[in-house]
Amino acid sequence: MIWFVDAIPVILTTMSNNPDLSKAVLSYFQLWQRQVAAMSRNPEAGIADMMATYNELAAVLSKEEDVVTGSQNKFDNE
């Protein structure tokens, strides 16, 4: 904690110089708290939603990986 206390004036200066950054972070943290609260009330549904989205993401990432791997193979073959 001590290192952080020492760093506070520096970070505060950065944030006070950029109120938009501060606002963006605050909005995110408040939304995050709501996500945590909603998942706590109904964790099974929350996890099911997250898994569904993760599966979609995995499918997208897998396609991207195929493209990259394919390019790499093509490069190797050349």
Binding site: F4, I8, I11, L12, T14, M15, N18, D20, L21, S22, K23, A24, V25, L26, S27, Y28, F29, L31, W32, Q33, R34, Q35, V36, A37, A38, M39, S40, R41, N42, P43, E44, A45, G46, D49, M50, A52, T53, Y54, L57
Partner: protein, 411 residues
């Protein structure tokens, strides 16, 4: 004979403290961990938050990840330090609950019936108040200007308050039947004999209202009306699947009950904490910035003292709660038996008022409405407040308290 509520010398709340500190740290830490995914729009937000999350993601994209991480670390640390400082201020706050000396007019074991009236004649109408078993009864008498019983007394109505107190040796083997048939019904009989020929109203708050429903069915020939405040009846209404899973996990909670012979306060409090893991951080961060000499700081401390001063639930009663109420929802089905009789609100014929706080997170409004649907011709009153706010919040005097006073006066 009089009874004064005691106050612990040293505050240890919010209970359980380790859980609250852990939840705050976890929320903050996980927000940092998820930040890169969120900034790239790849975090799987819950459906109800997706639209707002899209806006947040757009605003995050305007900044470098390192700057965001530093700023978020600052924000999270500020909140946790605020919370911890708020907890420290709570611990040392000079407020101590004033001694309230009320006459004990009836008792059995640790349970007492307190006459909270001040100088009322014997012909004053009587309201018999039944609070929850898991919290202290003084939520109905929190502090000057936040006292339901004082308001009733000032309106010429005699408040008789059941003070459950912590279960003693006698109560440790009690069943739900015992609390109704061996405690509340005899206490009602005593009250009817002690104050003959005056209207006698029964009012239950929270779980006390569920118990009161059974009492009213048995004793309604002696009663003028029934008032149920934030009373759970349909235990499956809006109950999350996680809570259902926990409550149905008999193997898990039986281990606790059978080894300790009670459901400890800290486990009950942990259950409430699970309803909103952010509540502790948010409210103590806020309290940290209160003027500690202000009235709102004092009210905060008084309420927090009450929240942390709960009572354990004895084993057999906890099992009825878990199995019959939350597990099988026997109350709604008319298959909750007390003293060999099914409790059916449809059989209640005296005038009944059901008070429902619409922002209640502890007893979902739909759960309380179910009782209103089953009692013939029940009058429903509601407010926008929460479970505790309805009883002691700033709107309580003109809201719930006045509703009850008007109800009794107009019958």
């Amino acid at each position: 004979m009089s009874k004064s509520f005691s106050q612990p010398a040293q505050r240890i709340g919010p209970r359980p403290l380790g859980l609250h500190l852990g939840l705050a740290t976890l929320t903050f830490g996980s927000s940092i961990g998820a930040l890169p995914l969120v900034r790239e729009g790849k975090y799987p937000w819950l459906p109800e938050l997706k639209a707002e999350a899209a806006e947040v993601t757009e605003s995050l994209k305007s900044f470098e990840l390192t700057d965001l991480s530093a700023a978020l670390a600052m924000e999270g640390n500020k909140r946790i330090l605020d919370m911890m400082s708020g907890i420290q201020k709570y611990h040392v706050h000079p407020y101590r609950r004033q001694q309230r000396d009320h006459d004990v007019i009836w008792s059995l074991g640790e349970i007492q019936l307190l006459d909270c009236s001040k100088g009322l004649p014997d012909n004053a109408p009587v309201i018999f108040l039944i609070p929850s078993l898991v919290n202290r009864s003084y939520i109905l008498d929190l502090m000057p200007d936040r006292s339901f019983v004082d308001a009733l007394s000032q309106a010429g109505i005699r408040p008789l308050l059941v003070a459950w107190n912590a279960p003693g040796e006698r109560e440790s083997s009690y069943t739900m039947d015992d609390y109704v048939s061996s405690v509340l019904v005899p206490a009602i009989d005593f009250t009817a004999a002690r104050f003959p020929e005056v209207p006698l109203h029964v009012c239950g708050y929270c779980m006390g209202g569920t118990l009161a429903t059974a009492v009213v069915q048995f004793s309604q020939h002696k009663l003028s009306s029934f008032i149920a405040i934030a009373t759970p009846w349909d235990f499956h209404a809006d109950l999350g699947p996680a809570a259902k899973a926990f409550l149905k996990n008999e193997e898990g909670w039986s281990l606790v009950l059978d080894s300790l012979n009670e459901l400890p306060v800290d486990i009950i409090q942990a259950f409430f904490a699970s309803l909103d893991p952010n509540l502790c951080m948010n409210k103590f961060s806020m309290f940290n910035h209160f003027d500690q000499d202000s009235a709102r700081a004092t009210t905060f401390v008084a309420l927090e003292d009450w929240l942390n001063d709960g009572a354990p639930l004895v084993r057999k009663v906890a099992k009825t709660c878990f199995n019959d109420w939350y597990g099988e929802n026997k109350t709604v089905a008319g298959s909750w038996y007390v003293h060999g009789k099914a409790i059916c609100p449809e059989m209640i014929t005296i005038p009944s008022m059901i008070a429902i706080p619409n922002s209640d997170k502890i007893v979902p409004p739909e759960s309380a409405k179910a009782l209103g649907r089953q009692i013939p011709n029940a009058t429903i009153v509601s407010s926008g407040s929460g479970h505790i706010g309805m009883m002691v919040g700033g709107g309580a005097p003109a809201g719930l308290w006045q509703n009850v006073i008007d109800w009794i006066r107009n019958l």
